[in-house]
């Protein structure tokens, strides 16, 4: 594990009217924090609040309007300890903007955007929704991949959005039938350029991730894994320079206008990237692996991603692992807990059954969540000083 970086630690979380929480003031001193509780008590909400202290829309990708308790303005703030001292981050509904705009604060000073926060806070997460990643459509996997890229290269989101905008515009012009060839030329050039840039970024991420995954082998119960892009543009980038790939894609788009018009969409582009993980010992694609094996592949990916972020930022990001024990057998669970206990990164684990976290007693700090509150589970662990 290449995570010999100082860790970011969340030591206090305050919420006001966030999802199911009217008000919460929780202090964490553990490096591993376990939150147990029945369905619907607000465990995922809590991880979501933590994920919103960094840039982006958090681990549910929610819109502003969904986050406030019963639609109220909400606020979340966190105190972080780092090797360079503590800092506070706050976020929530902005006073202007009719509830749709988000405000940011760093050490009590309002910030216009989240860019400055991105240098301070980073989190990676795994949610139960991802359990079906390899069963469902390519778009979910592409979003997953893009989020991994975006966490390291914030400009990636803009590139993908620009590609999709150029593509939607081309679809519309084609559908109108009155196709202006000059206009289509221009849109196809934009589409090709953005597609190659977006795919090159995905390819770069896959390479870096695979390097870390290869080093991660000693994680024992976690399978050696590789992430493969399934994407003709990525394949073309293997043996041609980006400008040549761009030009080739542009030319093919121009040739395929009639077919794309009939099909109602472009046959090629950044929107066709798919990916898979390969379980190397079995030499099997993830889709053929058991649910538990898929989960193990995803955990390996998320941990590798955390290493990349640590390398890029110089600090280990928070790990938010929602219902992480589900689908894992006891051996893999214990291997995961042992791995987490050995990482410098702070991790937050949730589950419905506190029993499964027993191997973490003495290592982790335990809380039980119930009706909008967190209670320390007495005797679960001795919180180590932060």
């Amino acid at each position: 594990m290449t995570m010999a970086f100082p860790a970011l630690r969340l030591t206090r979380l305050m919420l006001r009217d966030f999802r199911s929480y009217a008000a919460l003031d929780a202090r964490f001193s553990g490096r591993v924090v376990v939150i147990a509780g029945e369905n619907g008590v607000g465990k995922t909400n809590l991880l979501e609040a933590i994920s919103l202290l960094g840039p982006g829309r958090g681990l549910r990708g929610a819109r502003m309007g969904e986050l406030g308790r019963d639609g109220l303005p909400w606020a979340a703030s966190g105190r972080f300890e780092t090797a360079l001292g503590p800092f506070d981050i706050g976020t929530g509904t902005a006073s202007e903007g009719g509830g749709e705009r988000r405000a940011w604060m760093l050490d009590g000073v309002a910030k216009k955007s989240s860019t400055e926060l991105a240098e301070r806070v980073a989190a990676v997460w795994l949610t139960p929704q991802m359990d079906r990643l390899f069963q469902e459509g390519a778009s979910g996997r592409r979003r997953f991949l893009d989020r991994l890229v975006w966490a390291l290269e914030p400009a990636h989101a803009r590139e993908v959005a620009a590609h999709d905008h150029a593509m939607a515009s081309r679809n519309r012009v084609l559908a109108q039938g009155r196709a202006d060839p000059g206009w289509l030329d221009a849109l196809e050039e934009q589409m090709a350029r953005r597609a190659v840039a977006a795919v090159a970024a995905r390819r770069g991420l896959a390479r870096r991730l695979n390097t870390v995954l290869a080093e991660q082998r000693p994680l024992g119960a976690f399978p050696a894994a590789r992430l493969d892009l399934l994407c003709p543009i990525a394949a073309a980038l293997e043996d041609s320079p980006a400008l040549a790939v761009e030009e080739g894609l542009r030319a093919r788009l121009a040739q395929q206008r009639r077919r794309d018009a009939a099909a109602g969409g472009a046959a090629e582009g950044a929107h066709r990237t798919d990916m898979t993980m390969v379980h190397l010992e079995k030499n099997q694609p993830a889709a053929l692996c058991s649910t538990g094996e898929q989960k193990a592949l995803l955990i390996a990916t998320v941990l590798a991603h955390a290493s990349l972020i640590a390398e890029a930022r110089g600090f280990a990001p928070l790990l938010l692992l929602d219902e992480v024990a589900a689908h894992l057998d006891q051996r893999r669970r214990e291997a995961l807990f042992a791995a987490l206990a050995a990482l410098p990164a702070q991790s937050f684990l949730t589950g419905t059954d506190v029993g499964v976290f027993a191997p973490l007693q003495g290592v982790a700090e335990g809380f039980s969540a119930a009706s909008g509150r967190l209670e320390t589970i007495a005797g679960f662990g001795v919180p180590e000083p932060a």
Binding site: E96, G97, G98, E153, P154, A155, R158, E159, A162, H165, A166, A168, S169, R170, R172, V173, Q176, D180, G182, W183, D185, A186, L187, E189, Q190, R194, A197, A201
Partner: protein, 216 residues
């Protein structure tokens, strides 16, 4: 009917016509809220403030609005908004009328004027191509630009359109159409901002700056 008389904030809804406010304050708020930079909340605040002193804050504003509405018209040559046509820029013998800077809208023209960076004239396209908003090449003032070139005296066209997908698409189409005229076409350089350190630029900006590199 009595509800309407006693409650000034009630709105009348009919099935056929769109909803119409009958309250002048609500009318005013609704009109202001449509302006860029105003939401309902800020519109309401502005209206409340004005209502505190209508004599001094509302009537002069109403006069100013009327005067501007009656006096300002688009320049037949460049599309700028001014009290006369041709506008004072197109009419200025000190400016290089053969150097035309093409912008998306009057706001961009005004921004360039504030920067006092351009010594030539302008051409306002009136938008950018947007397939999704239904704005095609024939909806932009491309034809009038070609007519200006045809009339003679144009030495260079500078394209100063936004670097969004729609802006870049528009620039591409425009350069295509201008290609036949033989007039030199240039574009605003994009890249490293003044005072910008390289390592904090995003990849897109860096790539654009590299594409637009020039001999040192």
């Amino acid at each position: 009917m009595t509800t309407i008389a006693t409650n000034p904030l009630v709105t009348v809804k009919s099935n056929s016509a769109p909803m119409r406010n009958i309250d002048p304050v609500e009318d005013l708020i609704a009109l202001l809220a449509r302006l860029p930079g105003y939401g309902r909340r800020s519109a309401r605040r502005a209206v409340l403030r004005m209502l505190m002193d209508p004599q001094r804050q509302m009537l002069p504003l109403a006069d100013a609005l009327r005067n501007a509405a009656e006096a300002v018209l688009p320049c037949d040559v460049c599309g700028n908004l001014d009290t006369r046509s041709p506008c004072h820029i197109c009419d200025d013998p000190q400016r290089m009328q053969g150097l035309i800077c093409v912008v998306e809208g009057v706001a961009d023209l005004w921004a360039l004027e504030r920067a006092q960076a351009h010594r030539g004239s302008y051409h306002v396209l009136g938008g950018t191509l947007s397939a999704l908003a239904g704005i095609g090449p024939e909806d932009l003032r491309i034809q009038p630009l070609l007519a200006r070139i045809e009339a003679g005296g144009v030495e260079e066209i500078i394209i100063a359109l936004p670097v969004t997908v729609d802006g870049a698409t528009t620039a591409h189409v425009l350069m295509d159409r201008l290609g036949d005229t033989g007039v030199p076409v240039t574009r605003l350089a994009q890249g490293v901002p003044i005072g910008g350190a390289l390592d904090v630029l995003d990849d897109g900006t860096l790539a654009a700056a590299l594409r637009a590199r020039r001999p040192a």
